[in-house]
Symmetry: C2
Subunit: 255 residues, 2 copies
DNA sequence: CAACGGGGTCGTACGGCGTACGTCGACCGC
DNA sequence: GCGGTCGACGTACGCCGTACGACCCCGTTG
């Protein structure tokens, strides 16, 4: 029910797979099992049914193969997930670097949001000390390109990226949970809100917590409408970019 | 290895416990088991050893009681976690509302960071559609107080809070993972970085990804030093607050 | 062409988890 | 003193990840 633990995939093992240290043997070169086929099957399962549905038994099944055969190509589930993550990074667009830095960062934020929408399981699998696969490195390099040459120090460039991507991840997580819950409970967020309103009013009277009840109601109605997570994402992103522009302006002025 | 799934604790059941709908019977009033004792024991375990170590068997053990006895007071693990979360909120300071809005938000950010440092398991257990326990409501009301009366709409007040708390959570998660990994691997972040440097240089040459290799190295050294997650937290927080001040200024000007 | 060796495959089994279910004992109200 | 009720808990089920060892098939070698 929580974030992936033993997310500590053995980095060395994962890296060996990711950077293709081992060339395929003549035997396995046929149409048999392979890391690629396993990873693709695993991603399909996780995309469609979430990280909890991704079990080693399930992967074997999907490939018409015994559960333990999977372990021939992948040392364990944690390492499989690590490879899945890097593979997903590899499928991201590397939009051309055009426009000013703000437009570029905005574009990157939206690309990453789309990534999380396509692969919601990544929200629960990623760690902050990621396995440095080739696609993550390429992604990092590409994204740094958006903030290079605007007068920031290297440390600041990294911090800016961390900030923006962190915001995207927060927002994506919120949006993803709304979708999950709407499917699990067969209720839209708005319906859920309304069905709980009477209960809330029992305890959360305007007397006891006036501000919370007023603002909570307003925010709840917003969620009921078409916009909710989307608004939080856009609002937050614009605030973050505004904040970054203050630093950029400072650096430009002192040059 | 991931974020709590079936985090869908049955809200009604959780709420019933949280708002103490059921008064203690004369029988159970003695020194026997109780929701409070269970929750306290569970929080102690999770604080000390993480959410993975928190099993129902373990909770029973800690209380000198059979595993299934716990289910007399709590409908399931998900609901137990929900109550743990609200309890933790209840232990937060409600710092007096003083200073300007920026100082107040900064204070709130630091209070929430401290909460996550004391209870790192919350980073993996919280959801975005939380169970509306009494302490969460009180916390929300208190935190709204920091941004009331500065000219924002209700929706914006909620969005500002969501943004700041989202940033705190991102940063706290990063910091927490660093701590976890340093314990698990018996290596500091700096040592880990250095031990992987040769490997990285093999693939990530300055030729292939000049920006990534330069900035990554700089950021890596930063992590090796005393500051890393703390810097990311403070840098991001100041940027977020700068961004918010732009909106506040706009609203003040148009009034 | 026969024998061998090794690698891909997979069945079984173990120790963990959450928890459904049914029983038992002790206490409280009468 | 007694009946009913409720807290406590033992057992068991179906999941999970994966260690271990057996099998089988195929490419290589003598």
């Amino acid at each position: 029910m929580a974030i992936e633990r033993k997310a500590t995939a053995d980095p060395a093992r994962s890296l060996a797979i990711l950077w293709r240290t081992r060339e395929p043997t003549s035997r396995s070169a046929g149409q048999g099992l392979s890391v690629d086929r396993i990873v693709r099957a695993a991603i399909d399962i996780a995309d469609a049914e979430g990280l909890d549905a991704l079990t080693m038994r399930r992967v074997g099944e999907a490939l018409g193969v015994g559960t333990m055969s999977v372990y021939t190509y992948v040392p364990g589930k944690a390492e499989l997930v690590a490879v899945m993550i890097d593979t997903a990074y590899g499928e991201m667009p590397r939009s051309a670097v055009e426009g000013d830095w703000r437009a570029r960062l905005e574009r990157i934020a939206h690309d990453n949001l789309a990534l999380y929408q396509r692969h919601p399981w990544m929200l629960r699998a990623e760690t902050t000390r990621p396995v440095l696969g080739p696609n993550l490195v390429a992604k990092y390099d590409h994204e740094l390109g958006a903030v290079a040459d605007i007068g920031l120090t290297d440390i600041e460039m990294d911090a800016v990226l961390t900030l923006v991507l962190g915001h995207v991840k927060s927002s994506a997580r919120a949006a993803s949970e709304v979708v999950d819950l709407e499917r699990e409970t067969d209720m839209t967020d708005g319906q859920w809100w309304q069905s709980h309103a009477p209960w809330l009013e029992t305890f959360l009277t305007a007397d006891s917590y006036p501000t919370a009840s007023r603002v909570g109601t307003a925010a709840g109605q917003q969620h009921g409408g078409a916009y909710g997570p989307e608004y939080a994402f856009e609002f937050g992103l614009q605030r973050v970019l505004d904040g970054i522009s203050v630093v950029v302006a400072e650096r430009a002025a002192s040059r």
